[in-house]
């Protein structure tokens, strides 16, 4: 029997698991990152310079150190601390924090833009601070940041491929193993590329459409 066996229908389940894992970790990181980013973005837009400096510096580290290094550092660190985590846990923690760092800036810009102009108008109508937040700043601000939010979300889907480095069986790592077994890199990689494209292309087109629509 040969060491290498060609791609077959039996591999479908294996690939499907990879696809689902990619979707799973991306959705998780985007959701957690969005919620945290919304909160910290709000804090950043209302807090003093000194608090902002500290927050900004921490977020800077998350955005400037390459994701792959963050993943390696974190999983090594928890291992050394005596609490090794499974790849999925380490991966989703780091990917979420990474997403959060970018989302914070997205939402902060949204708050800054709206609260200055609309907030004053709303409060001159006699709304309290929280009322103007609830009815004016949040709805309008959220709409205006949607294209940038979409941009970050899409890059997270693509960056989730890096979680393979610490052993999470997402799509790219699954395909890597298939390549090793089948020695058919081109076919498998083209399939992987197609998957990302099918997810990403409609979303990015939609994002650009929204951007254009709002620019008018």
């Amino acid at each position: 029997m040969s060491l290498f066996t060609p791609l077959s229908w039996n591999d479908t389940g294996f690939i499907l698991t990879g696809i689902l894992n990619t979707i799973y970790i991306s959705v998780l990181a985007i959701s957690v990152g969005t919620v945290l980013g919304l909160m910290i973005g709000f804090i950043r837009s209302v807090s003093t310079q000194s608090i902002n400096f500290v927050l900004g510096s921490i977020l800077d580290v998350l955005r400037i150190v390459p994701l792959i290094i963050q993943l390696i550092l974190f999983s090594t660190f928890v291992g050394i601390m005596g609490h090794p985590l499974p790849p999925f846990a380490s991966g989703s923690i780091i990917l979420s924090l990474y997403t959060m760092a970018f989302m914070t800036e997205v939402f902060r810009a949204g708050f800054d833009n709206v609260s200055k102009s609309m907030g004053i108008a709303a409060r001159s109508l006699g709304m309290t601070y929280w009322q103007s937040m609830r009815y004016i700043v949040l709805p309008i601000g959220m709409k205006s940041v949607f294209p940038s939010w979409m941009g970050v979300a899409l890059s997270v889907i693509k960056d989730s491929a890096l979680v393979s480095v610490i052993g999470y069986m997402e799509l790219l790592r699954t395909s890597e193993q298939l390549i090793t077994r089948t020695q058919q890199p081109l076919e498998i990689l083209l399939g992987v590329g197609l998957f990302y494209f099918i997810i990403s292309y409609p979303l990015s087109t939609f994002g650009r459409y929204m951007e254009k629509k709002m620019a008018i």
């Binding site: 400037i64 792959i68 390549i179």
Partner: protein, 222 residues
Amino acid sequence: MGDYEFHWLIVFQAFPQMLNGAFVTLHVAVFSMFSGIVFGVLLAIGKTSNLKIPKSIASSWVEVARNTPALFQIYMAYFGLGAFGIHLSPYMAVLCALTFVNSGYLTETFRGGLQTIPRTQYVASWSLGMTKFQAYRYIILPQMFRRVYYPMTNQFIWSILMSSLGILVGMGELSGETQRLQSLSYRTLEFFIIAAAMYYVMTKFVLYSADIMSRRLFKGEI
């Protein structure tokens, strides 16, 4: 901290090699950026033109580059091209992949920049007897580059950070070199903390110099 003991000495001894890795990182980032700009300008002009073939080549290039992971591009260049008998070194594979992605993103950036330049600037250039090429070279592109200077800086930083994927194909840039060095001693944490710090310093340095450069380059107002 459990009973983990940090050993820094071994990292410091390997510091020259890590610096060397950092140099390769900058190197591949600069080259991929430079070629990305060249392709990006050509593709942007192609995309804004009315010619069908350049237009569709540019659009497909941009969409594939923007909608697939950089890691996928690197694997394609390193493993995938083998099916065509093309075997690239890790360095070349990463350089090609980053160039491909950079030019994809820069095309859209440049196209946006070109759109903000009024048609009257072209007309004024032509009416002075400039050729289409001269109008781009002296009037249109210099104005476009000012308007896209900050997005371009970001793209360059992205290139520095994404070149870290070289670790996965055994390239000797900062991450790959760090990976190799730590495997000799298993001081993973120490080595990668230093690598992280080096990325941080490199990026801050680039941002800082970009800021200084913009002040020297762009004296006129737009």
